[in-house]
């Protein structure tokens, strides 16, 4: 199993303010990986580097072995990466259908309608709301639309920044079920989450990021089970073991 995404000792930040101090991670084909860590650790910043919103001061980002460190976000989309930001992840003044059409901006024109129908099949609530402006949707529906928009291009990698934030526990459960389903379809997914236990429960591996450094990484199950890691970063009861084996060869791949 080869690495789809490799982040190699990345140093990055906003202006003078350095946030990531040499972080590394990898994401293999068909894998789900969760990045956890305290608030302000730099998790969102890390995703912005992977997507190309921030150019690192040093270090590299490789996608399928190719150095993409300096590619613009829209170029990365064309190459097969998709990104759902934590906030502002839909176009509020556009309709549901227009949001999806924009998600398919890079597709050949003939394929857009067919892809939209596929997304509607996957998210039936969006089909019901197709003509409505996004302002009228609930938080959970917006999150589903945000994922649907990102899936329009059939990306090889999906980057999700706190997909369950600000959702009710019920809705969050639905979102994680969708994420697992999307992964079962063969897409690699990199998630940043506060809701760490639930996210790790559907993941193969996890990274703990603290203060812009790698603090810990390993199989998701180990992070969930490891007393020390749990005490430091999680808390709460251990969720039930993942019911289905992960996509791919069944065993959590190691990094």
């Amino acid at each position: 199993m080869s690495a789809l995404i490799e982040v190699d000792t990345v140093v990055a930040g906003y202006g003078e303010n350095e946030i990531l101090h040499g972080i590394s991670l990898s994401l293999a084909e068909r894998e789900i990986v969760t990045i956890i860590g305290p608030n302000g650790a730099g998790k969102s910043t890390l995703l912005k580097v992977v997507m190309g919103y921030l150019i690192p001061k040093s270090g590299t980002v490789r996608f399928k072995g190719k150095d993409v460190t300096r590619q613009r976000p829209d170029q990365r989309v064309r190459n097969g990466i998709a990104y759902v930001p934590q906030l502002d992840n839909v176009f509020p003044s556009l309709t549901v259908a227009e949001n999806l059409r924009m998600g398919g901006y890079t597709l050949p024109r003939g394929r857009v309608a067919e892809r939209i129908e596929r997304v509607y099949a996957e998210f039936p609530i969006l089909a019901e709301r197709r003509g409505q402006r996004v302002r009228t949707l609930s938080g959970g529906q917006r999150q589903l639309l945000a994922m649907g928009r990102a899936l329009m291009t059939e990306p090889e990698v999906l980057l999700l920044d706190e997909p369950s934030a600000a959702l009710s526990p019920l809705m969050a459960g639905e979102v994680f079920a969708k994420v697992a389903e999307i992964n079962a379809g063969g897409r690699a997914i990199l998630i940043v989450e506060q809701e760490a236990a639930r996210s790790l429960a559907i993941s193969h591996r996890g990274y703990v990021v603290v203060d812009g450094h790698n603090a810990y990484d390993g199989p998701a199950r180990t992070i969930l089970d490891d007393e020390k890691v749990r005490a430091a970063f999680l808390g709460g009861p251990v969720p039930p073991r993942r019911p289905a084996a992960p996509a791919g060869d069944g065993a959590p791949p190691n990094g």
Binding site: R72, D74, V77, R78, V84, D88, E98
Partner: protein, 301 residues
Amino acid sequence: MLQVVIDGLIRTAELSLIAVGLTMVYGILRFGNFAHVEFATLGSFLVLPLAALGIAFPLAALLAIVATGLVGVLLDRAIFRRLRSAPPEMLMIASFALGIMIRESVRAIWGPSPYLYQLGVLRPIRIGDFGRITPIQIGIIVAAAVAILVFHALLSRTRLGTAMRATADNAPLAQASGINTERIIATVWLIGAGFGALGGVLVGLNTQVKADTGFALIVEVFAATILGGIGNPYGALLGAAIIGFAESISLAINWSPLLTWLGFEVRGFVFIPTGYKTAIPFAILILTLLVRPQGILGARR
């Protein structure tokens, strides 16, 4: 009566074309471009050398509009693109300086006296007993209406138009959708400056071609934009219509009954002198900022 409607329509035509570009650039780059009204001036002047070459007026106007649009794109590349992450106040000050530069360059090149477009003599058309309208006035209204309809179709029905709205809504997310937002920004400058130029040509047709054509409209254009809800092109159209008609109506009516009712001692008719007409958009602007700062169609942020 008819004259008030015609004046209102013409004013609406001129203001809406200029305001649309101002509001679109604001929608994407989030700063009020004080230089925007100078695209009207520049466009109206660029027609002159082209017409002097013997090019028919409509074609000369079209070429001047396209040229002005390209100037808008170049100025963005040269100046505003370097300031993308600068605070809006800095962009506004830069645009103010740029406005002075354009205005004074026009004055330096073409001199201080006004010009007229040479269109030959065209007879006004009588409309029953109501009044008269000139073919030029009809042309102004039709040209603006066509431009606005084409713009509406672009914005609402095409992939490019949707991408323009998406970029105005959320530029980083537009990038995450594979949209090259810098290309969209260039398109917005092209269209915005081009529409501004058309507005300026219409002002030139209606009156004269002057170096302060744009600057004289700055309050009207900003008032229309803010009244309609800055960033929203349909709001700019609505705002332009309200300002345009408010001006033509308030200049035409006799204010003495109102003043008498308010307890003032007035004799005879009282009209607002044309020189003070900028007071009207100014008053509307202040009222908007006090009562509904996000504008009629503007969303609360």
